[in-house]
């Protein structure tokens, strides 16, 4: 019986998995999962409400990105995305792969220096990187299909994530490295932050290489589809 009680809070995990799988709106799914987990652990409704409330407000820094929206909205109204696209399209020698690889490297280096909030999905991807990548992709000579446009945008977002994650872990003064050091210290293992940070470097390099190769493959795929479309036109003629 006590064994069963030990595993009962996992019902909350089950709610999340089922809710996401059934494509319910994620916000209520997550809140219900919290309530289920709390009830399964034998907490009272009052305690669960207080737990949800304090956890929620103590993480409100996660919402700060909305402050970028007014400035970016005003610029978009005056054609920022259109300009970013035209400008990149006019630069010779710059293609999708090179643009994305350059951004990936820059984002990793900035994150390694602890400058994680400098770029981001709201700050740089929507207003700058995604339209620039679209502009670079259109240099192949034919406009992107809606599917290709979405692929390029999604890949831009992915590039920002990968640059952030696999740079941040090398930074010694914040976040991951201090969490690791603090955890070990609690368990009687003393380490210097630099020892930990350096061992995140091999993965950072591997992440750069793998994602850069995938950016090149994306570029090739976009190019090939132009070739295929041109061939199809010739055959039709």
């Amino acid at each position: 019986m006590s064994v069963l009680l030990h595993y009962l809070p996992l019902l909350g995990v089950l709610v999340v998995v089922a809710g996401f799988a059934l494509r319910f709106n994620p916000v209520p799914v997550v809140v219900v999962a919290g309530i289920v987990s709390g009830l399964a652990a034998g907490k009272s409704i009052g305690d669960i409400l207080a737990l949800i409330g304090t956890s929620f407000v103590s993480e409100r820094a996660l919402l700060l990105f909305v402050l970028t929206l007014p400035a970016i909205g005003v610029l978009e109204r005056a054609g920022l995305r259109e300009h970013a696209r035209h400008w990149i399209a006019s630069l010779r020698g710059l293609n999708v792969a090179r643009l994305l690889i350059a951004y990936l490297g820059l984002r990793q280096i900035l994150s390694m220096l602890g400058l994680t909030s400098v770029a981001g999905q709201a700050q740089t991807v929507r207003p700058l990187l995604a339209p620039m990548a679209e502009g670079a992709a259109e240099k192949r000579g034919s406009p992107l299909t809606p599917q290709e446009r979405n692929d390029v945008r999604a890949f831009s977002a992915a590039t920002d994530n990968i640059g952030l994650f696999f740079g941040e872990d090398v930074f010694i003064a914040l976040g991951a490295v201090l969490l690791i050091q603090g955890f070990y210290a609690q368990h009687g293992i003393e380490l210097e932050p630099l020892q930990i940070a350096l061992w995140a470097l091999p993965t950072a390099i591997a992440a750069f290489v793998i994602h850069a190769i995938r950016a090149v493959l994306l570029q090739r795929r976009l190019q090939r589809q132009v070739g295929a479309a041109a061939d199809a036109r010739e055959e039709a003629d």
Partner: protein, 322 residues
């Protein structure tokens, strides 16, 4: 002194403004949603202070507010809000050209300057920036500076900051809220012992005398738990306490520095697979107006999967050697 709290007030003001605009358009659900969120953001410090003093009522009210937001979320249809016609935007873009990039780049630039030099700015011996979460305070300041610059460059009406900001906020809809809700769930999971239950399950399933089996279980456990929680930081203490320290370090003699660093980044691979990491994987779907919830994950899972294999190999080859 500039503090993170002021950034929260500014955010609450913006959210309240968005609520009022929606109220005028008779979009009741949106108005209520941003209104409740504005109150939660503005009252955050008070709630936490009261909870620390064992007064649970404000926290319970906040919890009720979160449930109200969850109930409103399905009614937050994302839909594209009316935007300025594309040809007018093109015309402005041709006229203003690079001047448009300046204010956009001010956001990262000012944030960067505050992060680098904020510690040295002081008047009469008092710091200009509070050291607590200084980079994020810098981000908020950068957004204000960029807004002023954007209004000057585009000669737009100052009210358009709120109007356009609200357009983007409504485009995001409930996706803006998901990161916070998930972080709150992480808090609940931690408080209800979900973590230890998962670690115990994993340990029941593996042959503990095999170093390879322990490495694989540790790595995949980090990924699985990160996928469930949406956050490698939450997975780390659980898997370390369950497998890392007792089995890999104490039993098999793994190097803790390597295991810690590489274990954490193995969890980061999991972040690339999961809708639970909403601010990275779901918010951009809304921001970039992509058609499917899974589009960003689809673009990045292959990088994550390859990196996961590389990582597991690196852990196995390195931790027992150094």
């Amino acid at each position: 002194m500039l503090r993170i709290e002021q950034a929260y007030w500014l955010m609450a003001l913006f959210l309240a403004g968005a609520a009022i605009l929606n109220l005028r358009d008779r979009r009741w659900s949106h108005a209520a949603f941003w209104g409740v969120l504005a109150m939660l953001v503005a009252g955050g410090k008070f709630v936490l202070a009261a909870a620390a003093a064992h007064d649970n009522l404000p926290a319970q009210l906040a919890g009720a507010g979160v449930i109200a937001l969850a109930a409103l979320s399905p009614r937050m249809s994302r839909g594209h809000l009316r935007e300025r016609p594309a040809d007018e935007r093109e015309a402005d873009a041709k006229k203003l050209r690079h001047r448009l990039l300046g204010p956009a780049l001010l956001i990262p630039l000012v944030t960067l300057l505050v992060a680098l030099f904020g510690d040295y700015l002081a008047f009469d011996g008092r710091r200009l920036f509070d050291a607590h979460q200084m980079t994020l305070t810098g981000l908020a300041l950068a957004c204000l500076v960029a807004l002023v610059a954007a209004l000057r460059v585009t000669r737009a009406d100052p009210a358009s900051g709120l109007v356009e900001g609200r357009r983007l906020l409504d485009t995001l809809g409930w996706a803006a809220l998901l990161p916070l809700t998930l972080a709150a769930l992480g808090g609940v999971f931690a408080a209800t012992g979900v973590g230890t239950a998962v670690a115990d399950l994993v340990r029941m399933l593996i042959p503990v005398h095999s170093a390879l089996a322990c490495v694989v279980a540790f790595g995949l456990g980090m990924v699985l738990f990160t996928v469930i929680m949406g956050n490698a930081f939450a997975a780390f203490p659980v898997l370390m306490a369950g497998i890392g320290i007792p089995l890999l370090i104490r039993l098999h003699g793994a190097n803790p520095a390597i295991l810690g660093a590489m274990g954490m980044v193995t969890g980061y691979c999991g972040t690339l697979f999961t809708p639970m990491a909403a601010n990275y994987n779901i918010v951009p779907v809304a921001l970039l107006e992509l058609p499917n919830q899974g589009d960003v994950i689809r673009a990045q899972w292959k990088t994550g999967a390859l990196l996961l294999v590389v990582n597991l190999a690196l852990i196995y080859l390195l931790v027992f050697r150094f």
